[in-house]
Structure formats: structure tokens, C-alpha cells
Subunit: 347 residues, 2 copies
């Protein structure tokens, strides 16, 4: 059964089924992604990342509610939430009170909440999250909030999908700890100090600000090669001629108290300012292009490897690997003998 | 000037120069790596990873001192330290007192300390650290300690180089924070609670133990595809037929007070037990093989992409990318038209 037509028509059940197909990486799911691709590229993907205990789920909840209201004369957005954090109330991982609070959203037909069980496979998780975001995008969800726990490779890769990445902190997590997050800060477009009514908020803000100052303000060129192929994307990009985006986005620090809905509107305004920056600077197109290029590069890699695989026998490959393991040949010698067959074929 | 002969003969100045060449990824450096490859595969690479403030530099210092002593009837090891953490006293980033303490090691000809400035490029850092470890290995250093800050993609990739990975914690870092480290715990072969004389040590140990218990004891198969190509390594490994290692290593928790040299011998014993496990279970060979295979796969990818690049003109590639960006074609359609030229050539 083809699900793409009903998904485009707004059928929630079809959407839910398609998300499952994509999460399971079925052939049908991939075929549907191909069909839906022409409808993508419109949604604003917002990553919300932070440690457990920072209250980022409540913040996602409030942002979703905010976007569902008709504010500033704009019509309410349709909002999708993809929760990748296994400890998130959205995924049923948190205490009951939190889960109930999240129920705010579940009756609203303009909101679709989808949680993903972490599946161990880092790469797989980033890829399926990207695919799900594409489906929500094609299905007409204008805002896609992706909630991740914000530590580890998979989460950073997932954050790279986003147009705008919020990094959520909370006061009183210890100054030593701030430094551990240097890697996370690099991906922040907006820093949020949630639970801003708790003691230590001044210290946290000061620590974050000094870290922001330390990270000498580099031109905001595309720092996210996307699609999880972080290293390869830059190295393998065959034709780098991307346009340079306009220079700067100064990462702001926003204070919120999500449980009291304090600061939500101000945060949404900062998110909107970032969106405006992305569009006006050309970085929206730049990021989209770089993301698609990285996706294409990774498809290309897979195809080239698959093609190469047909040129070498298993026993030949195994012999080469054994010689390498025994240090009888060097890595480049191994490479040469693996590629001999390809040469023989192509000439 | 060829540096490999003097490096193999124990010339420290030549070693230092070669490390710089490799760090700068020069052609000479790569040529030397090829020449030295036959001499690698003997060193025990120990990753020491943890947040700033856990005292991991002091711990590395004590471990290096320990291995320099002739204990248990074994002759003293030659020890290399690669400090990748920019806040490490080894790299000059920490307060003066720490730096002076580290001087313990600098007069000892059996110790070589090398610090690496973090260079922004994640992939590059992991690759050059791997190359440096290979050089120390070839140069006859039996123990190579790699110190990393333990957060972010680069650090996890670097930790994957190690045969044995220590994850260092300290008491009083807050229970909320423990969860953020779930990703790091996955790579731990030994958990160390340093500063074990500080309050909160019981809580920390309980928290860590419950996290260890939660992470259902999976068979200790090779979970580290190595070489920084984390995702690709698994996907692209053409012939997975690696032998299965013996089932289990139960991650121990060791308490230390590095500043007082308390617990160093016990920690070294745990490290030695892990080494014995690696050798007896066959996992040493297994990890070595998987690491070399990942390296080979990544060389292969680069070679295949380079070869493909010659088959397509820049303008053709750019046209395809623009069509994709405009959503006129799908990713798989883009892939097909990029590969047409290859087909035309090979048929």
C-alpha cells in the first residue's frame, strides 16, 4: 500500500505507519522518501539538546504550545516533535508527572509527537531521524522540534540536522562540568538557561558567556557538514564551490522557566531571529545544499563500494587483510592489491 | 632526510621531528608511517578519558611513573604520553602547580610526552593521534597513554584507538550529570573514581554501578569500529568474517587518589588484567584486525572517490546538485546520473 498520497493529504495514521517504515529502514520506506523528496525543504528544523535534568522536554512542550497559537499575526504552525532521548517524558522514560504534563499536546491535531527508541547503532539513529524529519517536512509540518540528550556522537550528528540548535543548560550543574560541554557549545545557535529561578543562574550565565567569548567569533560559515558523515563530508566534497554566507550570528543566551512558561515567547523570538538570519544571509540555502551534498556523497560512497565489492573475491580480500595483520605488507600496498582488479576491469 | 632509521634506533630528536611531520600530515610523514608499519602492533595503547577536574592528568602521571618502575619482576616499560586535552597540564593549559608536578617525567629518557593542540578538525585529530601512536609503537614504546577530555566526537574516536580505555570520574559532580556520560561509559573498559578521598565518593560509585548494571551485559564483541569512520566501518566492511572473541569483560570500578599515589598499583593491576583478557580471549587480535580493516576501508573509500572524481566534470556535478536543491530530481536520481559516466567508461 502506497502511503505517500495519504501522508500528503494529512492522514495521521498513514503518517504514523510511514514513520515506522522509515524507522525500520524498509525498502518501502526508502521508496516513499524518494517520492516525498520533492515536497521537502520547507520546514524549520529546531534541535533542542541538553543533559537530562535541564528540563528540555518541558521547554519543547512550551515551544510546541507557543507555535500552535496564532501569535504576531502569523497563523499557527503545525508542529512535529521527534524525541530521541530515551529519558524524555515524550518517550515515556521520565517520571509520571512529566508525562502527564506532556499530554497537553496529544489532543491537538496540529501536533505530532514521535519518540524513537535509541537503537544502539549510532549511524542508524542519525539517519532515521533525518528521514523522519524529511517526512514531517513533506507532510506539511512547518516546525520540527528534535529533542536529544546532547551527549555523544549520535546526538551531535542529530543536532547537525537542525537549522537552529538550542543547547539547554540549567543552573547548579557545577562549573567543572561546563567545560565538558565545549563540544556541545560549538553546535549551539542559541543557549538556553532553563530553570532560571534556581540558584546559581548568574554563575551559569557568566560561565557560558566566558566560554562564548573564548570561542573567538569565527565567521559563521557552514560548520555542520551534516548527515553524520562529519569527516568525510568535508574531505570528499568534490566541488566545494559553495557560496559564502554572510559573516556573523552572535549566539544569544536566553533564560527560561519552562514549567511556568516564562521566557517562551522571548526564546521563540530568538529562534525567529535566527531563522531570519539564515534566510537573509543565504545560509539557509547554504546549509540545505551542504546537507544534500553530504547525503549525495554518502550515497555515492556506498554505491562505489558496492560496485568495487563485485570486483574482489572474499578469499582475496581476506588474504590481503591477513598479510596486513601480520605486518607483511603496508596499508598502501594492501590498497594497491585490492584495486588491481578494478584496474584490470576498467582497462 | 629519512627519519625512520634513527627513530627505530631510539633517537629522541628524530622521533620528535617525525611526530611533527605526522601531526602536520606531510607526505614525508605518511611515507615514514608506511616504512614503520612493519614494526607496529606491539604496544599497549591505554586511553585515559574524563572531564576536566577529574584529575586524569595526575593519574596519567602516576601511571607513567608506575610503568617506569621495575615491578612484579617485569622490566620497566618505555612509556609514551599523548595529551590531546587542551586543558591538560601536559599541554601547558592548566595551573602552574600541576605543570610542575608533571615535570617528574620529563627528565626520564624512558618517557616521551607529546601534547597535541586541538585543531578544530575532528577527523584530523583522531587520524593524527592514531598515526602518532603508530610511531611510538614502532619506536618501541611498550605503553602508550592517550589522555583526552572525554567529551565530543573527536575524543570518543580517539578513545577507540585504545586497547584499554579508562574513564575517569570524580566525586561530587552531581548525579544529573552522570547520565550525560552514558555515551562515555559505553567505551569504558575500566572506570576510575579519582579523588576518592573527597565527599560523595560512595554516591558516585553507586551511580556508576547502577549505570553499569543498567547497561545489560552485552557480549564484549568488538564495539569499536575504530579509525574515526565509525559509521562507515560497520556498513562498508565488505567481509565481516571476523572471529568472535570470548564473551565477557566485567568493567571494574577502581578508586584512586592520584595526588597521593593511592590506588595506582591496583589500577595498574586492573589494566594488566584487561590486557590479559584481551590476549587470552583473542580480542587483541580481533581489535587489531578490525582497526586495520577500518583503516583499509577508509583508504579504499578515498581511492574510489578520487577515481570517480575523474569521471565527472565539475559543471555536470554542479548541475546535478542544483537540480537536487531545487527538488527537481530525487537523491537516487542524482546518484544514477552521477554514475552514468562511470558506467560509460567501464563498458
Amino acid at each position: 500500500m502506497n502511503l505517500t498520497a495519504p501522508v500528503l493529504a494529512g492522514d495521521r495514521l498513514a503518517l504514523s505507519r510511514l514513520l515506522t517504515q522509515v524507522e525500520n529502514e524498509t525498502a518501502q520506506g526508502y521508496a516513499a522518501l524518494e517520492e516525498l523528496f520533492a515536497h521537502t525543504g520547507k520546514a524549520h528544523i529546531i534541535g533542542v539538546t541538553g543533559a537530562p535534568g535541564t528540563g528540555k522536554s518541558s521547554l519543547v512542550n512550551q515551544l510546541a504550545r507557543y507555535y500552535r497559537q496564532s501569535t504576531d499575526g502569523r497563523s499557527p504552525c503545525r508542529v512535529a516533535v521527534i524525541a530521541v532521548d530515551p529519558s524524555s517524558p515524550f518517550t515515556g522514560g521520565a517520571i509520571l508527572g512529566d508525562r502527564i504534563r506532556m499530554k497537553d499536546l496529544t489532543g491537538d491535531p496540529g501536533v505530532f509527537v514521535r519518540s524513537m527508541a535509541s537503537r544502539g547503532l549510532l549511524g542508524g539513529l542519525a539517519r532515521t531521524t533525518a528521514s523522519m524529519a524529511q517526512i514531517f517536512d513533506a507532510a506539511g509540518y512547518e516546525v520540527i522540534l528534535i529533542e536529544t540528550v546532547g551527549a555523544g556522537q549520535a546526538e551531535v550528528e542529530i543536532a547537525r540536522l537542525a537549522h537552529t540548535t538550542l543547547v539547554v543548560e540549567a543552573p547548579g550543574m557545577g562549573d567543572d562540568i561546563q567545560a565538558i560541554k565545549a563540544g556541545i557549545l560549538e553546535i549551539a545557535d542559541i543557549l538556553v538557561i532553563n530553570k532560571a529561578d534556581q540558584p546559581g543562574v548568574e554563575n551559569s550565565e557568566r560561565a557560558l558567556r566566558s566560554m562564548l567569548d573564548l570561542s573567538h567569533p569565527v565567521p559563521h560559515v557552514f560548520k555542520q557538514p551534516a548527515s553524520g558523515k562529519t569527516i568525510q563530508a568535508d574531505e570528499l566534497r568534490p566541488h566545494p564551490g559553495l557560496p559564502e554566507p554572510l559573516p556573523f550570528w552572535a549566539t544569544p543566551i536566553q533564560r527560561t522557566i519552562a514549567t511556568q512558561d516564562t521566557g517562551t515567547a522571548e526564546l521563540a523570538a530568538a529562534i525567529h531571529a535566527h531563522l531570519t538570519y539564515l534566510k537573509q544571509s543565504g545560509e539557509w540555502v547554504y546549509r540545505d545544499r551542504a546537507r544534500l551534498q553530504a547525503m549525495l556523497d554518502s550515497l555515492l560512497q556506498e554505491a562505489l563500494i558496492a560496485r568495487w565489492r563485485e570486483t574482489i573475491t572474499e578469499s582475496h580480500y581476506s588474504d590481503i587483510l591477513n598479510s596486513l595483520l601480520a605486518r607483511r605488507i603496508t596499508p598502501f600496498e594492501a590498497l594497491s592489491s585490492m584495486l588491481v582488479d578494478v584496474n584490470a576491469r576498467t582497462t
